[in-house]
Amino acid sequence: MHAIRSKTLLSPNVTRFVVEAPRIAEIRKPGQFVIVRLGPGAERIPLTIADADPAAGTITLVIQAVGKSTHDLVDLDPGDAIRDIAGPLGRPTELLPAGHAVCVGGGVGTAVVFPIAQALAAAGVRVTSVIGGRSKEWVIFADELRGTGDVVVCTDDGSAGRKGFVTQALAELCEGGGIDEVYAVGPVPMMRACAELTRPYGIKTTVSLNSIMVDGTGMCGGCRVGIGDTSQYACVDGPEFDGHAVDFDLLIDRLTTYREFEQDALARRSQPGQCLEGDR
């Protein structure tokens, strides 16, 4: 059991939890994730470790409520506990040793990019973060990221920072030159757009892939993604890969595998009292 120490609403559908997980807090590295399960009948949900406090024995998880399972999760409150947390999983980020890195975060992906920016800054790399959201209230982790370097905020409606997409700001930075690596985490179309944008400049671009997972240890093969002409497992070979080699079409397509189930589950969730025959 992992007690929830605190809960903060970061944006209309993004929640931050600080949760007890001492061993994971002690050894996790940027880029790694955990698999969380609420209890009997619940799904195993992969979540990036956004931050950790080894002294307090806690990790920070940032959750965007999209499906039934994530809605169940964000319904928990401090004092509640998460039954299972397994990790840390995945390969740590390969950090640029020196130079200038641009960290691009879209929506909840900003929480994933934050520990990377933090580690880069700690190693003396110059960090510029480009983060975005629909409007002001959807932008998260801006203050935290300011502690790692410059931050460019982009909103679709211009209610905070500049008006426009993160890709526009990234394009200007690339044009300006001197960028050694781009880390981009967010919705798949955003990561693909970033990778396409940096390709002509030959700037190494690392993306973090959120394929469908079960175990997170390489045993099910469900998380396979196309990298160049190979198939790799996002849970053990990733989750971070060279964005210029990722088969984004395949990823987008495979992510729709359970779309009908997800819609059903969400619909059932919002109609309490309706019990399926055979429900236990």
Partner: protein
């Protein structure tokens, strides 16, 4: 206890093998309840009386953990179920499991004297597996009557990595010897393949849980959600414990490496079975989804393939087909499973090998393109090698494909333990007692042998426990 009259060999020979009561095929192919219902006490005693009580019993030698078969069977014949249970549990840590999943027809029952043809009549071996299951289930229903005495604690601590049959057996043996045992398991629940691989209709999960609970009552601690190689490394555990037993199985799926394998609707058997068995995806109240194919093609011929195809049938497939590149006689699955699959309406395409998964315009599986094979010269394994017949391509219609052609070693643990010697396939090198290249670290089960059987993993766990005990007590 009711004393049975002494039977002569002739009287024993006159009794026919008692059939295992089972659910009707039409019924069971749509539910997940166990297929075999188990012997009644009456049937068990009758079956036990068929045993000739050989002076030199061949069956014991046929059993990988040398269960004293004539002894427990004789106690059953005499109606002494408690004695039978104590005898069986002494030899076999998980008899509820082995009685259900051992390939008896190539082990104890293959060499049973009653299986030999006599005077022109074909023989039928004593139903050792079914009797073992009967006694084990009796023991599970009467835990107080069979609890082993509490041992003197030795103060030595042993870490076991993996809670499959290998790990659980070693844990039980070591706890019985008084050692302080902690099992580390990557998943949120215990049992390894017994839990996430073998389906409910063959091995009810309550039974696995009962066996695990028995170990916990014996004082074994289980730490779930702990991935050795990530949460801790093997060298870290070696430092914290006096000895370590590694039984992490051979969990990595193998794919066919044909075009179309990443289409939606293609599962590795591991994923398909885990979604159903571990995550309960077949139940309406579970959050984890699983695709319900109407025409399901399962590639492979082992137990895993049979489990997958029979699961597909239960999840509503109209057509569930095994695609196997050799012929019926080479099928590596347990005979009973093939038989049950046939009864349930599973179809078989023998001498057939997939060449491509065909997709539709939306990225879903639309069929499995195959080629017919014929058996050529024997290969390294002594089995005749299948060769493709040119021009024989055809498509098995399918909206879902499950790949069950084997598994490999998972490198997570070994990658982070540089001193541990592995072979070129990534399996851990260990001697007959499980000793590895690191002093105090032992290994067994599928991570040493490659995908094998439950009982072989258990045998490894038992031998390693004996070796670990000797190691801990030291030469002086």
């Amino acid at each position: 206890m009711a004393q049975q009259p002494h039977l002569t060999t002739k009287q024993r020979m006159a009794i026919d093998r008692q059939p295992m009561p089972a659910q009707a095929a039409e019924l069971r192919s749509i539910n997940f309840e166990e297929v075999n219902l188990g012997f009644t006490e009456q049937l068990a005693i009758l079956e036990a009386q068929r045993c000739l009580q050989c002076k030199k019993p061949k069956c014991v030698a046929g059993c990988p953990v040398s269960v004293d078969i004539p002894k427990f069977i004789n106690l059953v014949a005499a109606g002494d179920l408690r004695g039978a249970a104590q005898s069986l549990l002494h030899d076999n840590a998980l008899p509820c499991v082995t009685g259900r999943v051992c390939p008896q027809e190539i082990q104890c029952e293959q060499v049973c004297l009653r299986g030999r043809p006599m005077r022109g009549e074909p023989g039928t071996p004593v139903a050792i597996g079914h009797l073992e299951r009967f006694v084990a289930d009796w023991a599970a229903a009467h835990p107080d009557l069979v609890a082993p005495p509490k041992p003197e604690p030795t103060g030595r601590r042993v870490a076991i990595i993996g809670s499959g049959p290998g790990g659980l057996t070693a844990a039980g043996e070591l706890a019985r010897l008084g050692h302080d045992v902690t099992v580390f398991e990557a998943f949120h629940a215990s049992g390894g393949v017994l839990l996430y691989g073998i389906p409910e209709f063959r091995l009810p999960k309550d039974i696995v849980q009962q066996e695990v609970d028995r170990l916990v009552r014996q004082g074994v601690t289980i730490e779930h959600n702990t991935i050795v190689g990530r949460t801790y490394t093997l060298p870290e555990l070696r430092e914290r414990f006096d000895a370590v037993f590694v039984a992490v199985g051979a969990g990595l799926p193998v794919f066919m490496n044909v075009p179309g394998e990443n289409l939606k609707g293609v599962y590795a058997a591991n994923e398909y079975l885990t979604r159903v068995n571990l995550m309960g995806a077949h139940r309406p109240d579970a959050d984890t989804p699983v695709l319900r194919g109407r025409r399901v093609a399962v590639v492979g011929g082992g137990n895993v393939a049979m489990d997958a195809v029979r699961t597909a049938k239960r999840l509503g497939a109209d057509e569930a087909t095994i695609v196997y590149r050799r012929s019926r006689t080479e099928l590596p699955a347990r005979a009973e499973e093939v038989h049950h699959a046939e009864e349930e309406g599973v179809q078989f395409q023998f001498l057939t090998a997939p060449v491509e998964v065909v997709g539709d315009d939306h990225g879903w599986v639309a069929g499995l393109a195959c080629v017919r094979m014929e058996l050529g010269e024997p290969d390294d394994s002594g089995r005749r090698r299948p060769v493709a017949i040119p021009g024989s391509e055809f498509v098995v219609p399918a909206d879902m494909v499950v790949v069950a052609i084997g598994t490999r070693a998972n490198p997570l643990l070994t990658q982070t333990s540089p001193d541990l010697t592995i072979n070129r396939w990534g399996y851990i090198e260990a001697d007959a007692d499980g000793r590895t290249s690191i002093p105090g670290v032992f290994a067994g089960g599928d991570i040493v042998r490659g995908a094998a059987t439950v009982i072989l993993a258990m045998g490894d766990g038992k031998r390693a426990a004996t070796a670990i005990d000797a190691y801990l007590r030291g030469p002086g």
